[in-house]
Symmetry: C2
Subunit: 378 residues, 2 copies
Amino acid sequence: MLTDSLSGLPTPCLLVDAEKMQANIQAMNAQLGRLDVPLRPHLKTCKNIEIAQAMLAGHPGGVTVSTLAEADYFFSHGIQDLLYAVGIAPGKLTAVAQRLEAGMNISIILDQEATAEAVVKAARQHGCRYRVLLEIDADGARAGFKADAATLPDTALKLDAGGVEVAGIMVHAGGSYACCSQQAIIDMAETERRSAVTAAERLRSLGLACPEVSIGSTPTALRATALAGVTEVRAGVYVFQDLVMAGLGVCSESDIALSVMTEVIGHRPATGEVLVDAGWMALSRDRGTASQRRDRGYGLVRDLHGGDLGELIVRATNQEHGIVSQADGGKVDLADFPVGRRLRILPNHACATAAQHTHFWLTLPDAVPRRLERCMGW
Amino acid sequence: MLTDSLSGLPTPCLLVDAEKMQANIQAMNAQLGRLDVPLRPHLKTCKNIEIAQAMLAGHPGGVTVSTLAEADYFFSHGIQDLLYAVGIAPGKLTAVAQRLEAGMNISIILDQEATAEAVVKAARQHGCRYRVLLEIDADGARAGFKADAATLPDTALKLDAGGVEVAGIMVHAGGSYACCSQQAIIDMAETERRSAVTAAERLRSLGLACPEVSIGSTPTALRATALAGVTEVRAGVYVFQDLVMAGLGVCSESDIALSVMTEVIGHRPATGEVLVDAGWMALSRDRGTASQRRDRGYGLVRDLHGGDLGELIVRATNQEHGIVSQADGGKVDLADFPVGRRLRILPNHACATAAQHTHFWLTLPDAVPRRLERCMGW
């Protein structure tokens, strides 16, 4: 039944296994229930309201987004409380002011004194009260004040004096994606927590309330053992999981809910390889497993039902072609992969693969797949 | 004036310099004029009708596409003659039959005897006359019959006997992207031509007319010295050019018409790096220059006007963050890149970067940028 309905979909296309997705949501909820901290799901992975609502069940209702387009899309579908979790560009402050004016409860983040000055100036210009979280760097991987930086209290006080609401602290330990052991992820989660709580205490010692202490990444959220002082966790990839997460050991490959359906279009007998109609346009160029113990090329190949086919990977991609090989370089038995056979490819990185598609097909056993649209652009 | 109008656009966004684009079109037209072969432009790079029309000026009017969504989009804008240049998946034959029925002059390609059998079967089932080009492998890089393969005439005759129009031969020497010298590209162009012409002669010796001998890639099209026996050239990247093409020496960096506009959102003083609001979502994960002499990371950084800033590259990307570094590892003078400064990033691969965006902004001096939509999906 599922097979028949899948056969009617054009390839390549993006499938979400609704049961696996729901199990991933339950696993995160169970973990955060144990830690007694609510979730502010990051919606940059799914970019769809129905999946967002499934992620929000049992949580306060605030979400995280990575673009103003996502903020607009989710707000238009009834989500009020949005954290735009990319250091704000001064050029976007007018757009943020317009959204505050329209009734959106949007918070922004920053980690630069110069940005704080731009926010204070824009607040005066637009007559609005921006709500700001200060980003703290836990792992040296990307952005954020060091938790002990002298500029952190200076910036907070400058914002406060300028009529800007200093709502709290946010940390994203993206370095967790490069951890090499479960203990390293557990340690990273504690580093993330401590950086956030330390920075929040510094702000409170200045007399600022700093009600929000927001941390998170899928690996640290799933492996944290205690989150004292943290008021919310952010995570997004967990809803689908992916090969990078499986490589980190925070899920198994059978948990991965996202896949690209593709069809065999040819053979390369000399090399024992199979050509499929999913290239980087459908899979993305993400090579996140390249630095892990098991490199899965551009994705791991499964049968149409998601069943195991061994270490069959997409070795190379062009725009609309994928070349499927044995990971060990051995030849594929081409008779098993006739032209017209359909397959699924599990993604390295759920965010990147999903980003290549305007919509998903949500699959459930014995039901016709249902199309879910995704928010696009900025 | 241009600067002011650019400042009004949200970042990140995709810019097309109309003057550079027109110069690239003229350069290709001049080259093909010398070789006396018309162009069937590949529209998978631009995916926009206005740019397609600029590419088509002076040529017969046929185009190349990489998805049925592109075929539908361009057909709806008046383009009749479409070559769908990805080995046809049997699962798409009903969709192709529907388009033939709707009056679309669409040609498909194949390189498998099994696919030919599926096409013959579908032709009978749908009562339509498919038009097929046989794909020939010139470089071992991807797909195609070997020009001397025994299965080539067998397949052609099977199609012909099954009521399918065998319209000719197509070759794409994608291996040209990996050439290490101008002479290697010239040689690759001749290999591409010879493979196509040899295969066409084999079909003609069977009594098939084989009117079309279609070859092309941007490097081979721009460097071919003679194209005897070839009836049309396909190329698409040339319209924008990119860093991979500049690395191959088939254009200069100043020819690149496509860029991503971004804004500085922060500094990393410890490493002397700049954070911008263009990550892999805006740039793509393409690392096409990684295997070239000069690795440009995820793109080469220019000032807002496109002016040279030296070897400043996007070293790393997250979904909505880019980290800008000196290519040699030296520290960037952060005072030159204040928060809020806007920059442009030249792409490794025009197709991949453009694919991340639903629209372009076409820029001309002293004019307000004009928004051009792109066709999405499959």
